[in-house]
Subunit: 389 residues, 2 copies
């Protein structure tokens, strides 16, 4: 019999959202009249900006004409998009990059799952807890040892440094689900640690557009020395509503001391054929004027939602984190409840759907995540129900 990947076969399926769905369906069956408020989702709800749609349509029409048709594009992305990313996302924060440092892909999840392939099978990965489960899943699938970095409310959910030797370490800032964004000092502590110990940092900046408080880097490359040890993934999903279009990028500076730039380029050439041309044109439009301002309008909309939810949760006396630099509010469950217990209470008593913290790691137990991606009207209704305590 063909020998299958035992690590993959042994993985339990992530039942989080299917279990959420199961409980919601059961509630709905018993309460068909009740209106449900969906604050569980991590998906955007606002449509694409007009300039982005125009670019998508224009590129689609180009593909229908012989003189403007494009087949295979550059594996790492078209220069027009690489340049737009550099100029809009990095130059304003003082980070100088060249096009050879940037790689376009079809999603931050794809890249965050694939980066571990650059390391040895017996390399050790460090992953924060709680966090987006992709980092853990990709390394478990590869049979790698994973060191968890427990994040606590006492530290504002800033991860601790590893106590044992690791080869690479994932950081997610602003964090999904806690909403915590590293300060310059906190980020510098990780960069210094990585420089001193020869550890690679894999920095997930998918939510950087939501940072509003000062003193927090939008890019890890704002920190001195980071180009030597860090790689960073950015995304159009939450900043420009591309969850259904699929486009992201990863910066792997040529200065990377582990040689990851050449390895990532070689992996891309061997395993992928680039990103859809119309989608790359749409991404370019999301970075250039006027698409940038139009997309930022959506970011402000979601952050206004977050502010409304945060105000309501504080009014009701809940302990809260996030909601200022991320479209997520992380709330401690009252009365010592687990995330699943409070999930049930909120569903039964208030018709509200959230995400139990347990779904993001064992340190998420006792918390739930509220998303700010719903409509304003839904968010206001949820805030009213929440503020009653």
């Amino acid at each position: 019999m063909a020998a299958v990947n035992a690590h993959l076969a042994a993985m339990y399926e992530s039942y989080l959202f299917s279990e959420v769905d199961r409980r919601v369906q059961a509630y709905r069956a018993e309460n068909p009249q009740k209106r449900l408020l969906r604050l569980g989702i991590g998906d955007v709800s606002r449509p694409l900006a007009p300039a982005v749609v125009d670019a998508l349509v224009g590129a689609a029409e180009e593909m229908g004409q012989a003189q403007s048709f494009r087949g295979y594009g550059p594996t790492r992305g078209y220069p027009f998009l690489l340049q737009a990313i550099i100029e809009r996302e990095y130059e304003p924060v003082g980070v100088k990059l060249s096009q050879e440092d940037v790689f376009v892909s079809d999603g931050a999840k794809t890249d965050m799952a694939a980066l571990q392939e650059l390391f040895a099978p017996d390399a050790v990965a460090a992953v924060c807890d709680p966090v987006y489960p992709v980092y853990t899943d990709a390394n478990r699938m590869a049979g790698r040892k994973i060191v968890l970095l427990p994040c606590s409310q006492e530290d504002g959910f800033c991860p601790p440094l590893p106590r044992e030797r690791v080869d690479f370490l994932y950081l997610c800032s602003p964090n999904n689900p806690t909403g915590a964004a590293l300060t310059y000092a906190q980020a510098a502590r990780f960069v210094d640690y990585a420089l001193e110990n020869g550890v690679a940092l894999l920095f997930d900046a998918a939510y950087s557009a939501y940072i509003s408080e000062s003193g927090r880097p939008k890019s890890i490359f704002e920190i001195q020395g980071a180009k030597e040890v860090a790689v960073e993934t950015g995304s159009f999903s939450k900043s420009a509503g591309f969850t259904g279009l699929r486009c992201a990028w990863t910066v792997v500076p040529r200065e990377n001391r582990f040689g990851l730039n050449a390895l990532w380029a070689r992996r891309a050439a061997a395993k992928m054929n680039g990103v859809s041309y119309p989608v790359q044109r749409a991404a370019q439009a999301a970075l250039e004027t006027p698409g940038w301002e139009q997309s930022r309008e959506n970011v402000r909309y979601y952050m206004e939602n977050a502010k409304i939810l945060l105000g309501a949760a504080e009014k009701a006396g809940f302990c809260t984190w996030g909601g200022k630099d991320a479209p997520y509010l992380w709330v401690k469950c009252p009365d010592g409840m687990s995330g699943w217990e409070w999930f049930d209470v909120l569903l039964q008593n208030k018709g509200m759907i959230c995400t139990p913290g347990e779904g993001f790691g064992s340190c998420g137990k006792g918390f739930v995540r509220f998303s700010a991606f719903a409509s304003r009207e839904e968010t206001q209704e949820a805030a009213a129900r929440l503020s009653e305590g």
Copy 2:
């Protein structure tokens, strides 16, 4: 220092197309007036079908309206596309599938590179020689042992069965670069071998739209018992000109005896977020009337090119393969030349660009590949120059 993937670091870069490019640039610099005929590329040149462009534009506009906007889609693809694939690609050849057997992705290359992740690190892969280099590269990167199956002109480039124990085996039919399409008997021999020996077959059917001779299966699932042991990847790249749009699919039947259906689903859920919605709508249009007929018109155009090239090569007395069930002509170099030597002669004497067979494996030495994807006019000119011998 972070331990990197030594297998990846040790891989030589695929220099084939960059070396082709280097030699072409050098020729161009010395002969700026000469017109070059490009028969090296494996990329399509005809624009997308009108119905496909319409679908792309329509979906782009949907994404700009709140009521029709779509965020994350199903990881494995939208049901409308899964169903269209089943009905257009499989029902006509008598293969019954359910939507749970089909997974949409952003490219056949992506899937063909990723399928090896379903097998154990010490599983052994069998790969034909010569063939599309992705199968070998992906397994070398994972540090796996690879058994090469040498294909010879005496066998019409049909691969032999492995002589030693392997866990999974790649088949590419119609083959890139030789153009050989397995007959029913040849395909059945592999399925029977896989059933008897517990070997998984990874069947690359990216060029199935080009099969014109009778007696050749378009899908491996036309062979009795194949659902138990085979998975198959199909693509919109060459059948509908999607090389720049990016869409493909892989069929992993639930009947697979190694449990690959569940493993592939779990991998997809953990590592990807689905394919761009407008691209999936475009793919659906390429399968439905009238997009299907419009796209097939392009396939016929390329196959007419292949026929023109084949006629010219035969007239000149070259030994040829392919060109009947694939958009590639595989030609033995005259006078015992290597592929690179004949490449240079064709470039210098006839201003023609081909691809040296060595680029597809050591058994490709002494052959070159001509592509039928150029324009008619370029193809006719190439045929005229080639028929002079």
